[in-house]
Amino acid sequence: MASPSDTSASPSERGDKRLRAYLRPYEGRLAFGVLLLLLTNAFDKAIPWVLQGAIDALEGGTFDKVRSAALTVMAIAAGLWIFRTRSRIEVFNVGRDVEYDLRNELIDNVHRLGPTFFRKMATGEIMSRATSDLGQVRLLVGFGVLRVVDSIFAFGGAIALMLALSPELTLYAMAPFPMIIFLARFFGKRLYLRSREHQEALAKLADVAQENLAGVRVVRAYAIEDAEQRRFDEANQAAVDASMRLVVLRGFMWPMLLLVASLGTLIVIWKGGEMVLAERLTVGELAAFNAYLAQLVWPTLALGWLLSVVQRGRAGYDRVRAILDAEPEVHSEGTVVPTGPGAMSVDHLEYSVREDGEEVPILKGVDLQVPAKGSLAIMGTVGSGKSTLAALLPRLAPTPKGRVFLDGEDVTDIDLRELRRAVGYAQQEPFLFSTTVERNIAFGMDDPDGPDARERIESAAEEACILEEIETLPDGMETLVGERGVQLSGGQKQRIALARALLNEPQVIVLDDPMSAVDARTEAQILRALDRAGEGRTLILVTHRVAAASRCESIVVLHDGAIVERGTHAELCAAGGRYSTLAERQQLEAELAITEDDARESRP
C-alpha cells in the first residue's frame, strides 16, 4: 500500500525538528544521562593511568603504592558500575518514552481519520508502522545518543593527545576526515531510502498476513491456501532482498570509513617520517602519535553505525508521520451544542470520492427534510448512495459545509462529539469488538458500570429483540463474541449492533439496513419496537424492504446518487414509479401467498 508521504524521497528537515520536539519533555533526563556517560568515559580513561602508575610502582618495588593503586582501581570499577548502569538506563529509557508518546499520539490520530485514509493505508501497514517503524525511531533516540557521546569523547580524547604531541602532524592526520562529511551525505541518503524500502517490505508482509487471517474463512472455503502461501512467500522474499540491499550498502560504507581513518595513518607515516628525518620528532613520539591515531579507527567506524541508525530512525519516523500528520477529513472545530428536538434537513448535498486522482460523484444533489420525531425511509438500488448519505449525517465522512442541518444548525458548526451523541448511527455491516456481549451493547455508555447500567442494557437488548437469545448463549451477557463478533450468527451480530445504537436514546437515529440478516418474525418484532421507539425520536431508516419503509412517514428513493421519488407510501404507490414497482412485486408475492393460504384455508 502506498502511503501518503511516499512521494517525498528525501527526509524532510521539518521531520527532524519535530522529532527533536518529542525529546523536549525528557531533555533533563537525557542531559543527566549524557553527563553520566561523560563521567563513565572519563573514569574509563583514568583507569589505564592509574594502572600504569601501579605497574611502574611494581617495577620500582614500592608494593604499598601498588596495593593502594589496585584499591583505587577497584573503587573506580565500583563507581563505573553505577555510572554506566545509570547512564544507559537514562538514555535508553528516554528512547522508550519517546516511543510511548509517539504511539499514543498515533492512536489519537487514527481515531480522527476518515474513510479516505483507511482506504489508502491497510490495517497491516498501520500495525507495522506502529511497532516496527516506531522501534527504529526509538533506536535513533536511545542508541543514537549513546553512540554520539561515546564517539565525541573518543574523538576528542585522541585528538587532544595528538595535539599535545604535534599540532602540525595532527593537522595532516586529520586531513582526510572532512571526507567523512561527503561519505555521510552519500551514504546517508541511500541508507535512508534503503531503510525505507526495507520497512515497506516488512509492512507489506504484515499486510499479506493480516489479510489472509482476516479472510480465513474465504481462504479455507475456497481452498486457496497455496495461492495465499505463494503471495506470502513473494512478500517474504522481497523483504529478504530489501534487507540484503541494506546489508550491501552498509558493507560498502564500512570500508570507506575505514579508508578515511587509514589514509590518516598513511599520511602520518609519510609526513611523520619526514619530520623524524628532519629531527623535529622522535621515533618514539611518532609511534605514540600513531597509537593515538589508531584509537580513532573505532569511533570512525561507529560513526557509520550511527549514520545507519539515524537514517533508519528517520525513515521510520517519516513513515510514522504519514499517520501522525494525516489530515483528518472531518474537523471538530464546531462549538454549538445541539438542544433541539432533532429535525434533520439536507440541502442539495453533493458528495464525491477521489479515485486515482479523479472525482467520482456519489451523491448528486440530495434534498431531504425530516421533521423532529418524524421518520424517513431511504430506499434505492444497490450502490445508489444510501450508506454514503447515512454516514454523512453524523459526519462520519467529510460532510460539506452548509448542506446538512440539525434543528436548523449546520452540522459542521456543531461540536463533533455532541453531534454524534445527538445523531445515533448503526452501520450496515455490524462491527462488534472482541469483548463480551454486554460490553458491546454498552459501548456508547458513559458509565457502563453505573447502577442502572444493566437495566438500560437489557432494555436496549429487548428493543432490538435480542435479549431472550442472549440468555441462551453459553455465558449469557458475559459471552465473548470474538473479533468482529465471529462467534455469533449474522442476525445476532446485527441485533447487538442495533441494541448498541438504541441504548443512548439519541434525538435522531440513523439505521443503515438494520434487518438485512434477520428472519421475518424478528423483523416484525424489531419494526414494532422501532415504531415505539420512534415516537420519541427522529428515525432515518435505510432499507430494501417495502414492509419497513411503509411504516415511515415519508419515503425517498435514491437512484444513482439522486432522489428520484419522494412521498408517503400511498403517494408513491399511486405515482407508479420505481417504488410502486417494488411495492407491487413485494405485494404480489404477499398476495400470492395469502391467496394460496386463503385457498387452502377455504378448502375443507
Binding site: A122, I269, R545
Partner: protein
C-alpha cells in the same frame, strides 16, 4: 477489548514464571533454552555452508586487521632506518593492498552471515505462515488476528536479531575465551586463579539477570501482540468508535497496553544495563586484583627489588586479562539479544506446536455409503463450545441436483450446517457424507473445492477485481469471468471501475455492501462446480436486483445441487424442498406448499413476512 489482556498466553507465561522458581525448574529452563536453540538448528542447516564460510572468514578478517600495524611498523622503519623513499612507497602500496583485502574479506563475511541469517528467518517465517494455513478455523475464532500477525512479523523480526546482530557467533567468542584461558594458565597459574575468582560472581549475576530479563522479554512479546491486536481492531472499527464518541476511552485502553509495554521495556533495559556494566567493571576489578596479588606475592618472596622479576608477567597478564574480557563482554552483549530472541522463539514455536490442525486425518471405520444423496447429514449434533450444542441430531439428505432451502430464526444453526459441510469445524457426533463419503475421509481441499460458496459475511481481498473473482487462480479465464459478472448483473459496475483490473481496497471498502455481495455471487458462479452454497446471498440487495439474481441463480443452479440459506422467503419459494431449522433442530421439511399447508413455523413466518409488505 479489555478482556484480551488475560490471554491464555499471558496466563500460561505467568503460571510458568510462578512454577519455575525452584532450582530444579531453573535446570529445566536451561535445558529448555537449549531445546529452543536446537529447534532453530534445522532452519540453519540448509544454509550451513553460508554460515561455515562466514565463520571461517571471521578470524581471517581479524587477521587482516593485524597486518596493517605490521606494515605500519615497516613503514616507520623504512623511513627511520633505511631513510628510503622507494621503500616507503612500497609499504604504502602494500598498505593499500591490505586495506583492499580487508575490505573484501569483511564484506564477504558480513554478507554471507547476513544472507544466511535472512534465509533462516525467511524460512521460519514461511513455515509459520504455512502452519497458520493449516490451523483450524476455530483457532481464529478465539485468537485476534493482530496477535497471530505479530507472530509472523514482530516476533520473527526479533528472533532475526539473533542472526543480524551476529549473536550466533557467540560460539566463536567461547572458543577465543578457552584459548586465552589456556594461555593464561601456562603463563602463571597462580595469577590465573586469582583472575578467575572474578568469574563465579559473574556467573551468578548473569544467571540472576537471565531469569529476570527473560521474564521481561516474555512480557514484551505479549504486549506487542496486544498492541497489534488492539490497534487492528480500532482501525477496523474506527467508524463505530467515532459514531459513539468513544475515542478517548478506546485510546486510553490502548495507552494502558502501551504503558505496560514501555514498563516491560524499562525492566529489560535495567537488566541489560546492569549486566553490561557489571562485566565492564569486573574486568577492571580483575586487573586490580591481579596487581594487588602480584604485589603481595612479591612481598612474600622478598621484601625488596625482586618485585621487578614479576613485572614482565604482570604486564603480560594485564594484556591477557584485557583480552580475556573482550569475548566475555561480547558474550554479555549478545546474551541480552539471545534472551530476547529466545523469548520470541518461544512464541513462534508455541504457534508451530499448536495442536489444532484443520481437518486432521481421522482414520476410522467409515464405509462409503451407496446412497441417493449428494449431501447427507445423519444425527449431527454439534457444539462450538463444550456443553452448548447448537445443532441437535440433525438429519438432512440432499439429492444430487436438488435445491434445498434452509430457513429459520436467526441463530438456529443454518450457517453452522454449511460450515460443517465444508469441514471448517470438526464433527464430533453423527456423520456427514458428501457423495456417500464421510467428510472426515475426504481430502479437505478437494472437498472444499467441490463447493462454491457465497458466505454470509462477504470478504473481498485488496487487489484487483480479477484476483477477487478468480480466487487463487494464476491464469483466470476473462471470458468466463465476464459471463459470471453479466449473470449477476455486476458487469456494468465492473466496467465502471476500470474493468477486471479495477482496484479493490481492503475488505472491499470502495464498494457498497450490495455490490460486494454481487461480486461474491459472481465469484461463486465462476467456480463452476456441482455444489453450491448460498448463505444469505441476497440479504443486502434491493428487490429489483434480487429478482435479477434469482433469475441468474435459477439458470446457474440448473442441474446443480444447491443449499440456499435465506430469511426472505421470496427468495426460496422455488426450492425443491424447504427445511425449517428451529433452535438447532430440523423442525419442518417439505415444499413451499406442503409447509404452508402444514401450518407450522414456516407458515407463520411466511404470513408475517407477507402481511407486513
Amino acid at each position: 477489548m479489555s478482556d484480551s489482556k488475560a490471554t491464555p498466553e499471558t496466563k500460561r507465561a505467568e503460571s510458568r514464571a510462578r512454577l519455575l522458581t525452584s532450582a530444579q525448574a531453573e535446570q529445566a529452563e536451561r535445558h529448555y533454552d537449549l531445546a529452543l536453540l536446537k529447534r532453530l538448528l534445522p532452519y540453519a542447516k540448509p544454509h550451513k555452508w553460508l554460515f561455515i564460510a562466514a565463520m571461517i572468514l571471521m578470524p581471517l578478517s581479524s587477521l587482516m586487521g593485524l597486518v596493517q600495524p605490521y606494515l605500519l611498523k615497516r613503514g616507520i622503519d623504512s623511513v627511520v632506518v633505511e631513510k628510503s623513499e622507494g621503500a616507503l612507497m612500497q609499504v604504502v602500496y602494500l598498505f593499500a593492498g591490505a586495506l583492499a583485502a580487508e575490505f573484501v574479506v569483511r564484506f564477504a563475511q558480513t554478507y554471507l552471515m547476513q544472507l544466511a541469517g535472512q534465509k533462516c528467518t525467511a524460512d521460519l517465517r514461511g513455515d509459520v505462515m504455512g502452519k497458520i494455513q493449516r490451523l483450524r478455523v476455530g483457532y481464529f475464532d478465539r485468537t485476534p488476528v493482530g496477535r497471530v500477525v505479530t507472530r509472523v512479523t514482530n516476533d520473527i523480526d526479533s528472533l532475526a536479531e539473533l542472526f543480524a546482530s551476529g549473536a550466533v557467533t557467540a560460539i566463536t567468542d567461547l572458543i577465543t575465551l578457552v584459548g586465552i584461558v589456556v594461555a593464561m594458565l601456562l603463563l602463571d597459574w597462580q595469577l590465573s586463579l586469582v583472575a578467575f575468582t572474578a568469574l563465579p560472581p559473574l556467573a551468578l549475576l548473569v544467571n540472576l539477570f537471565r531469569k529476570r530479563a527473560r521474564s521481561a522479554f516474555r512480557d514484551i512479546r505479549t504486549r506487542v501482540a496486544q498492541l497489534n491486536a488492539y490497534l487492528a481492531e480500532q482501525v477496523n472499527g474506527v467508524r463505530v468508535v467515532q459514531a459513539f464518541g468513544r475515542e478517548k476511552e478506546c485510546a486510553d485502553e490502548y495507552k494502558d497496553i502501551n504503558a505496560a509495554y514501555r514498563d516491560a521495556n524499562y525492566r529489560s533495559i535495567r537488566y541489560d544495563a546492569l549486566l553490561y556494566s557489571v562485566v565492564q567493571s569486573i574486568s577492571v576489578a580483575c586487573v586490580a586484583l591481579v596487581l594487588y596479588f602480584a604485589a603481595v606475592r612479591a612481598g612474600w618472596v622478598s621484601a625488596g627489588a625482586e618485585g621487578a622479576l614479576y613485572v614482565g608477567t604482570v604486564v603480560a597478564f594485564y594484556d591477557y586479562i584485557e583480552r580475556f574480557f573482550v569475548p566475555i563482554r561480547d558474550l554479555a552483549t549478545k546474551y541480552t539479544i539471545i534472551q530476547s530472541s529466545l523469548a520470541s522463539a518461544e512464541r513462534v514455536f508455541q504457534l508451530l506446536d499448536t495442536d489444532e490442525d484443520d481437518a486432521p486425518h481421522r482414520p476410522g471405520d467409515r464405509p462409503v455409503v451407496e446412497e441417493e444423496a449428494a449431501v447427507a447429514f445423519e444425527d449431527v449434533t454439534f457444539a462450538y463450545r463444550d456443553g452448548h450444542p447448537v445443532l441437535h441430531e440433525v438429519s438432512i439428505a440432499v439429492r444430487p441436483g436438488e435445491h434445498v432451502a434452509l430457513v429459520g430464526a436467526t441463530g438456529s444453526g443454518k450457517t453452522t450446517l454449511t460450515s460443517l459441510l465444508l469441514r471448517l469445524y470438526e464433527l464430533e457426533e453423527g456423520s456427514l457424507r458428501v457423495d456417500g463419503k464421510d467428510v472426515r475421509d475426504w481430502d479437505a481441499k478437494a472437498l472444499r473445492r467441490s463447493f462454491a460458496v457465497v458466505p454470509q459475511d462477504v470478504f473481498l481481498f485488496s487487489g484487483t477485481l480479477r484476483a477477487n473473482l478468480a480466487l487463487g487462480e494464476l491464469a483466470p479465464d476473462d471470458d468466463r469471468l465476464w459471463e459470471a459478472l453479466e449473470r449477476t448483473g455486476a458487469a456494468d459496475l465492473v466496467r465502471k471501475r476500470g474493468g477486471l483490473d479495477g482496484r479493490v481496497d481492503e475488505r472491499g471498502q470502495n464498494f457498497s455492501a450490495g455490490e460486494r455481495q454481487l461480486l461474491a455471487f459472481a465469484r461463486a458462479l465462476y467456480r463452476d462446480v456441482d455444489r453450491i452454497i448460498l448463505d444469505e446471498a441476497t440479504a443486502n440487495v434491493d428487490s429489483e436486483t434480487e429478482h435479477r439474481l434469482q433469475l441468474a441463480a435459477r439458470e446457474a443452479l440448473e442441474g446443480r445441487t444447491a443449499i440456499v440459506v435465506a430469511h426472505r422467503l421470496s427468495t426460496i419459494r422455488e426450492a425443491d424442498r424447504i427445511i425449517v431449522m428451529h433452535q438447532g433442530r430440523v423442525a419442518e421439511e417439505g415444499t413451499h406448499e406442503e409447509l404452508l399447508a402444514a401450518g407450522g413455523i414456516y407458515a407463520r413466518l411466511h404470513k408475517l413476512q407477507t402481511a407486513t409488505s
